[in-house]
Symmetry: C2
Subunit: 221 residues, 2 copies
């Protein structure tokens, strides 16, 4: 799938899933309609991520859901993932592109227009833009306060690759992100920490789709 | 270089280098006669390790010293390192071999005969065996007490790939490790935390070479 067509993108984080396993969360999110999943789990060993990744690959392939690996190109290749997502402190996008080749999906985090333009110039296929509303589930080096939908709009206007908002987004706050020009939303907590991850995913998908329907032929043209 | 010919193998760890940079430590160790260096630095970001790795590649290539990357195959490829070293919680040796191809050096940590045989069977070119004397510089999942030279001898006898002792080894304690059958010693603190890393390296090299000279045509035949 092309990242332009992702509406809801789940980023895994076992520490937020309560007594459910990451596989349970992903299964429910697939049932609920996610388009992509990112294997993150930074707190676990490479071996654990590899073993989890092999299982995620089976499930996502069967469901037609894209599988992206956070940070590690080697792990992505080892589990035959569709691509890699890197942050500003990971390997540079140009290096990731060289290692993965032209067909893989390469995503990059960006919170400014400058970072976004640089990532696009070096070969990123999509941008994870945020933290839109601030977030409690990412690392401490993330900004505490969100960049807001206005910055998402600036970035979406500045690049031609699709932009996915991330950071504190829920079904209640997804619409302004899409209206601002994001192709979709990436979430951790809104699905992983939800009492019912499947219905939480359905709500997010509906929240993203509505402004897209309304906006068709309208806004941003 | 073949890992059979490594005598002194430096594993980097910035947190033990005091006010010296890792590059300063490596430069001094190269002057003192190391045969290989492993870029470890687990506490730093992939981007930092990449940037440091590019500099280490220049220096080691100029000196004819092998450069190995801990854990990450992608980083090793990005900086054109000679190989990768993995522990029991990193990607499996067979996966590392598949990703790196037949010419790269693949090393694996082992503390038991079973782990050593398995790593060799899956394609490891050398084994880092320990912790020989226990160590304060590795992760908390390392055994607190060392396996001792006797276990090094068991493992060296059980496999045909070269074995390098690691863990708490100093110039004063290196000889029994080599007499036990190790091709050489891998160290962090003995060089990195030394007041003079160059002379510390020279002392280690001498301590490893002496039992080899004495033993030639003698022990273990």
């Amino acid at each position: 799938m092309n990242p332009s067509n992702w509406r809801v993108y789940l980023v895994t984080q076992a520490s937020l899933s309560g007594d459910r396993s990451t596989l349970e969360i992903v299964d429910a999110a697939i049932d609920g309609g996610i388009d992509a999943v990112q294997l993150r789990e930074k707190e676990t060993s490479a071996r654990s991520r590899y073993e989890l990744g092999l299982e995620l690959r089976e499930r996502t392939a069967a469901a037609g859901v894209d599988l992206i690996v956070n940070d590690r190109i080697d792990l992505a290749r080892a589990i035959d993932a569709d691509g890699v997502h890197v942050g500003q402190s990971d390997l540079p996008v140009s290096v990731v592109r060289d290692l993965l080749g032209p067909d893989a999906i390469v995503g990059c985090s960006a919170s400014t227009v400058a970072d976004a333009r640089e990532a696009e110039a070096h070969g990123a296929d999509y941008l994870g833009v945020g933290a839109v509303y601030g977030t409690s589930s990412k690392d401490v080096d993330e900004p505490k306060d969100g960049i807001g939908p206005a910055r998402v709009a600036e970035i979406a206007d500045a690049v031609s690759v699709p932009v996915h908002g991330i950071g504190g987004i829920t079904a209640d706050t997804a619409a302004p992100v899409v209206t601002a020009g994001a192709a979709g939303v990436a979430v951790i907590s809104a699905i992983t920490a939800a009492p019912d991850p499947r219905t939480a995913t359905e709500s997010l998908a509906a929240a993203v789709e509505t402004p897209k329907e309304v906006g068709r032929g309208g806004r941003r043209e």
